[in-house]
């Protein structure tokens, strides 16, 4: 989706949620931080963990585990990080992940489309899952599921209208 013409390689910032490997295009990521003080926002959908203050700006912190239909592995663990996204994918927000992994560079050709949802169709969050990610990439040892960062916020907004 980006820089396709100049390079056939895409880089992803990868992280784990419930032991599975996920990735977000590195061009959408602003920074990665340890979890700052989070203030819960009552009445907000459960997908919103709260708000955090990053250098004087208020960011919405999303519970990505919940959005993917997974368990937050060890709440409060030292390993947890937040991935802050660029404003190009949505107004000030960050997502919480279990552990952060390396930046992975993959060739455009090894990215496969999976929008039929067969990759993880067994999980209970299948329908949510596929709307967030419709591309996977097979690495040497495991499967990397690519998350469309620009679909995160709309998904939160949608749930509210649903309820």
């Amino acid at each position: 989706m980006k820089e396709k013409t100049t390079t056939t390689n895409r880089q992803f910032c990868t992280f784990r949620i419930d032991d599975r490997l996920y990735g977000i295009d590195i061009l959408d990521v602003k920074e990665i931080k340890t979890i700052p003080d989070t203030v819960p926002v009552h009445h907000s959908p459960s997908k919103i963990l709260g708000i955090v203050n990053l250098r004087g700006r208020i960011y919405l912190l999303l519970n990505l585990c919940l959005m993917l239909g997974r368990e937050r592995k060890a709440p409060g663990s030292e390993e947890e990080r937040i991935v802050v996204l660029k404003s190009s994918v949505g107004e000030h927000f960050a997502v919480l992940v279990d552990t952060i992994e390396d930046v992975v560079s993959v060739g455009e050709e090894s990215i496969e489309c999976c929008n039929t949802g067969e990759a993880d169709a067994t999980s209970r969050g299948a329908s949510i899952h596929t709307s967030l990610c419709d591309e996977v990439c097979t690495l040497e040892t495991e499967l990397l599921v690519l998350i469309k960062a620009d679909r995160l916020l709309p998904m939160v907004d949608r749930t509210r209208f649903g309820t």
């Binding site: 819960p40 926002v41 009445h43 250098r55 107004e91």
Partner: protein, 762 residues
């Protein structure tokens, strides 16, 4: 040549930066010139050359730049206006109002065109051109006839001195900055303040050297913040400066003579506030012109000067901006307000009687209220003043009215200096901090020990506290936060019951221990917003703090109970509570708070029911909040109109109902002396017959709704060891008099017409 020019056009049109610069500059020129035209109009006979020159220069620069950038329509129109101005300048033409009209129309057209680059090329300027050209033609003809006028004019002209050319002066010292940069600067300054705060917290134990450094940092940061805030301030002239034009146009349109005077136009306000108040202010001014100021004939008859006067005065007062808008028009006629309030069913006759003049005046802020008989072109559709009020209140400002019939109307606005930093009360619930804007705050109080149990009562399903003889609904913040859905009756009842039981448990356990002064306290913040007045129960009150307001994240904006986010001194963020939204969420309706406005006749125990009998058999119960009062009546005073019974109570003809008319209950036992239970908040005065009063009892929350399902009953319940039927007053009224609820006023059909008229005469 044209093709060449077109090419150039295209080239230049593609340079958005140049175009943007042109547009903002041209707009500034036009803005400045609008006022000058009005000035010129006042000195028609004797135009000030310097003034005309100034206008000419402005128009000319617009024309020049437009021509350069290829906005041919703009430059054509400007050129034509320039021609007219040249004639005036060279005394070939004496300006008449028609000229000014044409020129102003031209300025308007230019302003509109400049809003949109596309319009610059496509707009239809032919009418403006025609208007000006026609004037040019006519005047060239006339100008030959009275040549003698010109010298006389020249003589008069001399004393007028130059009008300072604002634009030229300003150019040297100002730069154009995008607002985004200012906002960013503001943000960064705010962040610096936070760092400073943290540094100060850590620096307390540090050595002398670092301490003085910290102190200097503190001073510097404070100054920086002040300056940045100042940079966002703009003189209120930005908004009110447009009013002379508005008033001029309106007075023309309405055939009135109105003058407006403005003072304190240099008072500065945050630009966000300016933006928001622009509409409400325009509305007020329109109202003044349309409703306030009378026609010249009327004014003459009333012995007032023919020209109406509107004045706007702005000043600083105790950290607020106070704006006073007054007119010397007809003012607001309270009798009309009362009549309209009755017609629109906003208030009952009885309520109106009890209201002070001031409270009556404030009725005009009710949605849908308008005193004008017919909706006019400009205003009078009744959507006016409530919009103004909400607008001002949203800002954390307030609005006050003062009117004397025939003398005029005075509106007092109090506005905060800035929205970006507001004083807030910091409260906690559980672990969390919340900020409550001080503008919504009325008072704080604390309920201690025994009072927590004894003085919190229940009115219907709502917890209330009697504060200085007024009933104040209580909302518990912790409960509000727990439940994302709006509170319903049963939620409020559950909460009330839960806390009551908690208190009971505490009370009885204390009794066992025989330790009479157990310690507990309840912190309560009294909030007053547009329509609600309630006490918010919080865990702890931390104190006040000036906080930097940040807008809510877009994804959170649909949550009603917050109005923003802030970052506290310690770097943690906190939500800012929206007083109005919280009230809405908790369902604290105006109903309950209205009780507190009125004299409460029954003093003991709300949340209770009155037990009474009508027929001989069953015991009936009516929730006390539904009753206004109980009257002793004599059966002989009852008047019959057809089938319907009426009685005059305190000069008001009141419809009297017998329960057996609509409920399956034993018939009323008639005695010589009876009781009348007068119903509260009924559209028409109404009361229930009652043969004997039994007691006042407290009702358990769960009414049995199934064993005796009957329309008009809330349910049954054992009270005082007797099964009692709890009446649903609104439903009963509906059964008794369906016409009252048919949507239309049914006075004409009501047989009580005769007496109602009597009441009206009074």
């Amino acid at each position: 040549m044209t093709t060449q020019k077109d090419q150039l056009d295209e080239q230049l049109m593609q340079d958005p930066e140049l175009t943007a610069a042109f547009i903002s500059e041209a707009r500034e020129h036009l803005d400045a010139v609008g006022d000058d035209f009005l000035l010129l109009e006042q000195q028609l006979e004797n135009p000030d050359k310097e003034l005309i020159n100034k206008i000419f220069r402005a128009i000319h620069s617009v024309k020049g730049a437009a021509g350069f950038l290829g906005f041919s329509k703009v430059s054509e129109l400007a050129h034509t206006m320039e021609t007219l101005l040249t004639k005036i300048r060279s005394d070939q033409l004496i300006p008449i109002p028609a000229h000014i009209d044409a020129l102003l129309a031209g300025v308007d057209q230019l302003t509109v065109m400049l809003r949109d680059v596309d319009l610059c090329r496509k707009a239809d300027i032919s009418t403006n051109l025609a208007q000006i050209n026609q004037l040019l033609d006519v005047k060239t003809a006339i100008e030959e006839i009275p040549p003698q006028e010109i010298p006389s004019q020249k003589k008069k002209k001399q004393p007028k001195q130059a009008v300072p050319d604002r634009i030229a002066l300003d150019m040297g010292n100002t730069i154009r900055l995008h607002v985004d940069i200012l906002d960013k600067l503001m943000l960064q300054a705010g962040e610096l303040v936070l760092i400073r705060n943290q540094q100060m917290l850590g620096g307390v134990e540090s050595e002398g050297g670092t301490r003085s450094l910290t102190h200097r940092l503190d001073v510097a940061v404070n100054e920086l913040q002040q300056t940045v805030i100042q940079a966002r301030m703009q003189p209120i002239d930005k908004v009110v400066g447009k009013f002379p034009r508005v008033v001029r146009d309106l007075s023309r349109q309405l055939g009135k003579n109105i003058r407006i005077s403005i003072s304190g136009g240099q008072t500065e306000l945050d630009r966000t506030i300016l933006e928001i108040i622009a509409d409400p202010l325009t509305h007020i001014i329109r109202n003044c012109c349309d409703h306030g100021i009378e026609s010249p004939e009327e004014r003459k008859q009333a012995g007032k000067p023919v020209t109406g006067q509107i004045s706007i005065a702005t000043r600083h007062e105790a950290g607020l901006i106070v704006m006073e808008i007054s007119d010397d028009g007809r003012g607001i006629d309270l009798d009309i307000v009362r009549r309209k309030a009755l017609e629109k069913k906003l208030k009952t006759r009885e309520e109106l009687k009890q209201m002070s003049d001031k409270a009556t005046l404030l009725l005009i802020f009710q949605p849908g209220f308008s005193t004008i008989e017919e909706a006019g072109d400009l205003s009078g559709r009744g959507v006016g003043m409530d919009v103004v009020k909400t607008g001002i209140e949203q800002l954390g400002g307030s609005l006050d009215l003062d009117s004397e019939k025939g003398k005029g109307l005075k509106i007092l606005l109090r506005l905060p200096l800035t929205l970006a930093i507001i004083p807030c009360l910091i409260v906690t619930t559980g672990e969390e901090l919340f900020a409550i804007p001080q503008a919504n705050l009325q008072e704080l109080f604390c309920i201690y020990d025994q009072d927590v149990r004894d003085r919190i009562e229940r009115a219907d399903d709502q917890e209330v506290f009697r504060l200085r003889n007024q009933l104040l609904p209580l909302v518990r913040l912790s409960e509000v936060l727990l439940q994302p859905e709006r509170f319903k009756r049963k939620d409020r009842a559950r909460i009330a019951e839960q806390y009551r039981q908690e208190q009971d448990k505490l009370y009885f356990s204390e009794r066992v221990k025989e330790d009479s002064d157990h310690k507990q306290s309840l912190n309560c913040v009294v909030l007053k917003t547009g329509t609600s007045h309630y006490g918010l129960v919080v865990d702890e009150i931390r104190g006040t703090e000036e906080i930097v307001v940040k807008p809510l994240h877009r994804s959170l904006q649909s949550l009603g109970i917050y109005s923003g986010v802030t970052i506290m001194g310690n770097g943690r963020s906190a939500m800012i509570l929206d007083g109005e939204g919280t009230a809405r969420h908790a369902g604290v309706n105006a109903d309950v708070s209205q009780h507190s406005d009125m004299e409460t006749v029954i003093d003991e125990g709300f949340g209770n029911v009155l037990l009474f009998q009508s027929g001989g058999q069953e015991q009936l119960a009516v929730p006390l909040p539904r009753l206004q009062r109980i009257e002793n009546i004599k059966m002989e005073d009852i008047e019959f109109i057809g089938e319907r019974e009426f009685i005059t109570v305190q000069g008001i003809s009141t419809r009297v109902f017998r329960l057996e008319e609509v409920l399956d209950v034993s018939p009323l036992i008639e005695g010589e002396e009876m009781f009348l239970l007068i119903v509260r908040n009924s559209a028409h005065p109404a009361g229930l017959f009652c043969s004997s009063l039994v007691d006042i009892a407290e009702i358990s929350t769960e009414l049995d709704q199934d064993s005796l399902p009957m329309n008009g009953l809330l349910g049954t319940c054992v009270l005082d060891k007797v099964m009692s039927l709890v009446l649903d007053i609104p439903a009963l009224l509906r059964l008794f008099e369906p016409e009252w609820f048919a949507g239309k006023r049914s006075e004409a059909q009501t047989p009580g017409k005769r007496k109602l008229q009597g009441a009206e005469e009074k």
